[in-house]
Symmetry: C2
Subunit: 240 residues, 2 copies
């Protein structure tokens, strides 16, 4: 083959808020990130902050840091991957946690596969995975749904649908909410779900705000409500 050696697309985890680096990123992952000069990122500002935290040895202004456009056309994605076709490694980073899961990035990974560019996922913090581990709900069967509808009636209806699916398939249901709407989501869960349904609230994972509790809707109703406002939270439910 006369093709030059291709670069690799590394999937580089970012911190979840103010989580300490030593407890969230393996040392060799930080080392790999420090070797990269080309980054495609969800948000240039948070990516620069993360690269600074891991002590990237290159001056940040000398790194190539390009934001991944929303709904990028295939040609735009291929352009972002051009350095890899030229033998240079690229790092993909999202705003928080691992790229391409509950976050943008999958479109670029898809294009990398199409171009036969090697993709290497690196270990780091994922609020979804940590929430599922800590929930005590079923980790053998689960589904993630992203954001639910915002309007009250539609949200209640979505929660009832997830609860029914959970009961039918014995499947843990995971979803998230924009942080300033977390309290509203919590109360919607208590009013929409059955008393025996177990609900887990996993707040501020890996940060000083970390707090995880799972109990039935009936028991949640008897407890003081957790303060969730503006703190990233994963919600999970399992109906038996």
């Amino acid at each position: 083959m006369s093709q030059p050696r291709r670069g690799t697309l590394y999937l580089v985890p970012a911190s979840l808020g103010e989580s300490p680096l030593r407890s969230t990123l393996p040392e060799a992952v930080a080392e790999q990130a420090r070797r990269l000069q080309h980054f495609v990122v969800e948000n240039a500002k948070t990516a620069r902050a993360d690269l600074k935290r891991i002590d990237h040895p290159t001056a940040l202004r000398e790194l190539s840091i390009v934001e991944l456009p929303r709904n990028a056309a295939p040609q735009a994605l291929a352009d972002l991957l051009a350095p890899a076709l030229d033998g240079k490694d690229i790092g993909l980073m999202s705003e928080a946690g691992v790229p391409a899961v509950a976050d943008p990035g999958a479109s670029l990974v898809r294009e990398a596969h199409r171009l036969d560019i090697q993709v290497i996922p690196l270990v780091g913090p994922s609020s979804l995975l940590l929430a599922l581990m800590a929930s005590g709900l079923d980790g053998q069967r689960f589904a993630f749904h992203g954001y639910l509808p915002v309007q009250d009636g539609a949200r209640a209806s979505a929660l009832k649908t997830l609860e029914a699916a959970s009961r039918q398939h014995h499947q843990t249901q995971l979803f998230i909410e924009t942080p300033y709407r977390n309290t509203k989501m919590f109360h919607a869960l208590l009013t929409s779900c059955q008393p025996g349904t177990r609900v887990c609230v996993a707040r501020g994972l890996t940060t000083a705000d970390e707090w995880v509790r799972t109990c039935t809707v009936a028991r949640w109703k008897k407890s003081p409500p957790p303060s969730l406002d503006k703190i990233p939270t994963v919600f999970l439910l399992l109906a038996d």
Copy 2:
């Protein structure tokens, strides 16, 4: 309150096979594991090997390492958590990867929540999460189904059901197979799914055998089949 301070249940990730510690476990996670004296584990032998790899400072025979029984009754689970009620921290470890996700452990976490024992999930490698990141398939909506049926007809039927659900909900479907049946599963995917369905094979993540490829069923059929025998592999599909 006159209750003594309770211990915490730490969820301690294990390696995925022979993956290097420095690239899979944050240093503070290893440090936390080294401070624990009580462990509840899926498999005592692999847990001891993992504790040895992280250089646990206590002689292994002096650590309390108890296997989690399958289908343990609530009282048995409460007994396993007794040290935490007595103020001692406990580590939960599965055979590979993170506990309680695609692995046993959720029952113990559930009991911990019932007893108001704090649960702290630690960051480490999860083959499901790494596979989803690296697949380029949809990471905003996905479901994990564990093992599919083994019998040929039932397996083909399960794959068609997952493919239909994937198309209907635009949801990435993840599942696993006992490693010696991986090749059979791969060929079942190619014969059961539509030509345009994208299939990802994520093999040996974090190990020297790591290999991830995503393409359509039609393109997989034209490629030499990957060697998957006896290597842990995650399978994913997305039908557009």
